[in-house]
């Protein structure tokens, strides 16, 4: 028996000083749930492909992580997601980009891999493909979390402040025109 699984839940915005013991416990529980979901598939003789799907879907369904429910907001206040899955035994692969109404983008990526002759579908076309293959679209509210919305508001404020400061500085990069 030689099987194993490894997962990640992102690396971009982790700051030790903002990590409370309670928050850390929540993340560890979320990671453990994902790990066990994938591990369970492997332990019962299932495929690596099914295992990584199960592990990723568990995190897509967990609002703590930036994927599926809990995805971050774009500048326009929408949620726009990307996903990919690849089978090492055949090098078959499926991916989707910029989808806005898909609860589990990785599930749609697998659908692209298994039910289309293409590798990567994006935007409205990807969502039409999802509907044509029986997947139900979700309303944008499905992805909303207060934490992610507050992060966007903070980012917009910082952006506005930076633009204001730049406008007041003679040495702004935007004014270096040669």
């Amino acid at each position: 028996m030689n099987f194993a699984i490894a997962i990640h839940g992102g690396a971009g915005t982790i700051r030790r000083q903002f990590m409370t013991p309670e928050k850390e416990a929540e993340y560890r529980a979320g990671l453990a749930e994902s790990l066990e979901a994938g591990y369970g598939i492997l332990r019962h003789g299932g495929s690596a492909l099914d295992a990584v799907m199960k592990a990723v879907i568990a995190m897509e369904n967990n609002p703590l992580f930036n994927a599926g429910k809990g995805a971050v907001f774009t500048h326009e206040g929408t949620n726009e997601q990307d996903a990919c899955v690849m089978d090492g035994s055949t090098r078959a692969v499926g991916a989707v980009a910029a989808v806005k109404h898909i609860a589990s983008p990785v599930t749609l990526a697998r659908m692209v891999m298994e039910r289309s002759k293409h590798v990567l579908l994006c935007g409205e076309g990807a969502e039409r493909f999802a509907v044509a293959n029986g997947m139900t679209l979700v309303e944008p509210e499905y992805f909303y979390t207060k934490q992610r919305w507050d992060q966007l508001q903070l980012a917009l404020k910082e952006e506005a402040r930076e633009h204001k400061q730049e406008a007041q500085l003679d040495h702004s990069d935007h004014k270096k025109m040669g």
Binding site: A48, E60, Q81, L120
Partner: protein, 135 residues
């Protein structure tokens, strides 16, 4: 971003990644996750990889396939190839992030050059680990 890599009892590898992208992104920006060979890659001959971090740098590094190529053409181990690509190449580009990877023999590596990376692994014998920061 979230992701997973696995080796099953039949010797098959797989990788999957899913992401909401970056806060406040515009213009239909797409990151490395759905770009095959950048943020996600799997090949039974070498390894399976799922990456996370600043997508623009991971795409420019063609991070995942670079590791597989070093294993295939230079006979490097997964650990050596992943460390070279993440800790040297990605860092030199100015990129921040990391990845989880597993090879055909079940070896797992999880290198990152950011402050932390939510991560975990579990082996057939039930041993494993969940971690967030470097220590």
């Amino acid at each position: 971003t979230v992701g997973a890599v696995a080796l099953d009892n039949h010797g098959n590898l797989a990788a999957a990644t899913s992401t909401g992208g970056m806060t406040n992104k515009r213009y239909g920006r797409i990151g490395d996750t759905p770009i095959i060979g950048a943020g996600t890659y799997a090949d039974n001959a070498t390894c399976a990889i799922s990456a996370t971090g600043v997508g623009e740098f991971i795409m420019r590094a063609v991070l995942a396939h670079d590791i597989a190529a070093l294993m295939q053409y230079k006979n490097m181990t997964l650990a050596d190839a992943a460390n070279l690509v993440v800790m040297e190449k990605l860092t030199a580009l100015g990129g921040s992030g990391g990845l989880v990877a597993i090879d055909w023999d079940g070896n797992i590596v999880m290198p990152f050059n950011s402050e932390g990376m939510y991560r975990g692994y579990k082996l057939a014998d039930g041993t494993g680990e969940i971690a967030i920061f470097k220590d």
